[in-house]
């Protein structure tokens, strides 16, 4: 009897952690059989490429959420990074990469300092920098009227449009960043501090962990990764599009949550976030494949899906504690 209950609890635990992966596999299998075009190399290549930009942003968000925080500024920061990259591309490859990285990291750093040193809520600090980054973007582009174009011959474009073995460069970069992110989270002192802060900040502080420094590092990382996503997008689109990134922070939060990272902090995985991103991209792709559906169903399904995942997670967590 107790054994059965234990087994149930263990099963619920596995489901909570791996549920998204199971749904992803089932979803891919179903889509493969249902839509003849889905399994084509072209479509799959496209699917992973489309997912890679959000994945990079969500990677940073995963760290922030595990620490019990939230970063609303990533959407604006991402757009700002794209504009700066396209602007910098006229001065060469190095500027195109370093300029957005520096500015976006700086915005993340300021977020981190304000959160860690003054104790203001992450929600509000990053809400303010959401506005600030968007304002800065508008200021740089004559109120959004100027779109910086990248010279078609520029080596910078390879970052977004190049392919290796037929698969887009952003996909490789994303995988590389996720591998590094996984190592950082699991194998370093920094990563362990992130978990400790998210689990119980007071205890982390009492244990003498560098709470403030870790937080500053986290938000800087999140800003930098939003900048990377912006760079890749600018290279992919060949220009600094000013209107992207509105609401992207919410997309990033929802894929992180779908991937099994708890918003309460202290628990989560990098790989789960990758699964969450792929699931989201899959949903979009399937709705496009159906073709007859209004594209607005995409957001309806995404919202409903997020909800179902969260409710199931919640119910599973309850059944485990019982």
């Amino acid at each position: 009897m107790t054994q059965a209950a234990e087994r149930n609890a263990a099963f619920a635990g596995v489901l909570q952690r791996q549920g998204a992966a199971v749904v992803l596999v089932l979803g891919i299998a179903a889509a493969w059989f249902a839509f003849p075009h889905f399994g084509t190399a072209d479509n799959l290549r496209n699917l992973v490429l489309q997912g890679s930009f959000l994945a990079v942003i969500a990677l940073g968000m995963t760290f922030v959420i595990i620490s019990g925080g939230i970063d609303l500024s990533v959407g604006s920061n991402y757009a700002l990074g794209g504009v700066l990259a396209a602007y910098g591309a006229q001065y060469g490859l190095v500027v195109a990469i370093l300029l957005p990285l520096a500015v976006c990291s700086l915005i993340g750093f300021v977020n981190g300092v304000l959160i860690a040193r003054t104790g203001m809520a992450p929600f509000i600090v990053t809400l303010a920098s959401l506005l600030f980054a968007r304002g800065l973007l508008l200021a740089l582009t004559s109120e959004g009227a100027t779109t910086y174009k990248v010279d078609p011959g520029s080596a910078f474009l390879w970052l977004g449009q190049g392919t290796i073995f037929g698969i887009g460069v952003p996909v490789y970069l994303t995988l590389l960043l996720f591998a590094l992110g996984g190592l950082l989270l699991r194998r370093t002192r920094f990563g362990q501090s992130v978990f400790a802060i998210g689990g119980a900040e007071q205890s982390a502080l009492l244990m003498g962990l560098p709470v403030a420094r870790t937080k500053i590092g986290l938000y800087t990382l999140s800003g930098a990764l939003a900048g990377v996503a912006g760079i890749l997008t600018a290279a992919y689109l060949q220009s600094g599009v000013t209107v992207i990134g509105v609401g992207t922070e919410l997309d990033a939060i929802s894929v992180v949550v779908i991937g099994g990272t708890l918003l309460t902090g202290g628990a989560g995985t990098i790989i789960g976030t990758l699964v969450g991103v792929l699931l989201r991209t899959l949903i979009q792709n399937v709705i496009n494949q159906i073709g007859t559906l209004d594209s607005n169903y995409q957001t309806v399904v995404s919202g409903a899906f997020l909800l179902v995942v969260v409710v199931i997670q919640r119910l599973l967590a309850r059944s485990r504690t019982r």
């Binding site: 809520a121 929600f123 509105v246 919202g303």
Partner: protein, 316 residues
């Protein structure tokens, strides 16, 4: 030395309580002196009318934040309400408005149920509706903007009663009601108690779940009303644009108005002035030919300063 710190603490406390009013007054004086054509009835009208929808949404948001929650779905609820109006306007403006408000109430019930009964964090429960709600509105409206021609309905957004625009009257009445609810009703007391300490409230036998659901229902209904007013003023139902980023403006108004995000306190008048302040800031910058980009950066600075001041108080 200690008297100096005491003085400082006093100043901070005063700023926290009255800072938003002071800021509004300072901005008004600045504008009266430096801005041409500021002192005109037409201008005040415009400012108030533009602040009205944010103010209405912010009232609901203030109640939600008072319970230590947050409602990100308000913008999407506005867009659902806007999408429904043209469908029911044929049956008369009143029917259309009632349907829109019912949609808001249903949305609120939905978020409230998730928060109160399933124990899902407010930010995620309402995020789902933020993402899905606008999509739903666009599906309802087939993604299209619909021009409205019903004169009675449009009067809501354009007409006056005794020289005051109807929109402003609606916002004012709702603000007074919200103030009464918070100050004078058991429900208001419960709400603040739950925000202050939920566990203690549960143990004390307060109807925690019922109060939480009601708070989200009120927020949903107010967002729907704001959607109706915005639609009427625009003379068109535009579900793809109405209420976009409204959650952020409303949260800003509430926070700038001195309601702490940690719950346990609701400042209704502060919220109204928070909405007015943000509107005045924007108007001031526009009238002095500063672009939208600067306006956004200034808003960011105001939010940080307001929260920083509020923080000093709460840490004591």
């Amino acid at each position: 030395m200690s008297t100096a710190t005491l003085e400082r603490a006093k100043v901070t406390a005063w700023l926290q309580n009255y800072g938003v009013y002071l800021a509004v007054v300072v901005l008004l004086v600045f504008n009266v002196v430096f801005t041409e054509n500021f002192l005109s009835a037409a201008n005040f009208r415009t400012q108030l009318v533009q602040a009205a929808p944010v103010c209405i949404v912010a009232l609901g948001m203030a109640l939600v934040i008072g319970t230590e929650g947050i409602d990100l779905s308000v913008g999407s609820v506005m867009s659902i309400s806007a999408a429904l109006i043209p469908l029911y306007l044929g049956a008369g403006p009143l029917t259309a408005i009632v349907v829109a408000v019912i949609a808001g109430i249903v949305s609120g019930l939905f978020s409230g149920y998730l928060v109160a009964y399933l124990g899902i964090q407010p930010i995620i429960a309402t995020l789902a509706l933020l993402v899905g709600g606008r999509g739903l509105a666009l599906v309802i409206a087939h993604g299209q903007l619909v021009q409205l021609h019903n004169r009675d309905f449009l009067a809501l957004g354009t007409d006056d009663v005794l020289g005051v625009p109807i929109m402003v009257i609606v916002a004012g009445v709702l603000a007074v009601l919200a103030g009464l609810v918070v100050q004078r009703t058991t429900f208001g007391r419960h709400l603040v108690a739950i925000g202050g300490n939920r566990a203690a409230s549960t143990l004390a036998g307060l109807p925690v779940k019922r109060v939480l659901i009601s708070v989200y229902v009120i927020s949903g209904a107010l967002a729907a009303i704001a959607g109706v007013l915005a639609t009427s003023r625009l003379a068109a139902s535009d579900p793809s644009d109405v209420g976009l980023l409204m959650e952020l403006s409303a949260i800003t108004a509430v926070v700038v108005g001195g309601t702490p995000l940690t719950g346990g306190r609701v400042r209704v008048l502060g919220t109204v002035f928070g909405a007015l302040l943000m509107q005045l800031v924007q108007a001031t910058l526009i009238k002095h030919n500063l672009p939208d980009s600067t306006a956004q950066m200034v808003q960011a600075a105001i939010i940080v300063v307001a929260v920083y001041v509020a923080r000093e108080r709460s840490s004591k």
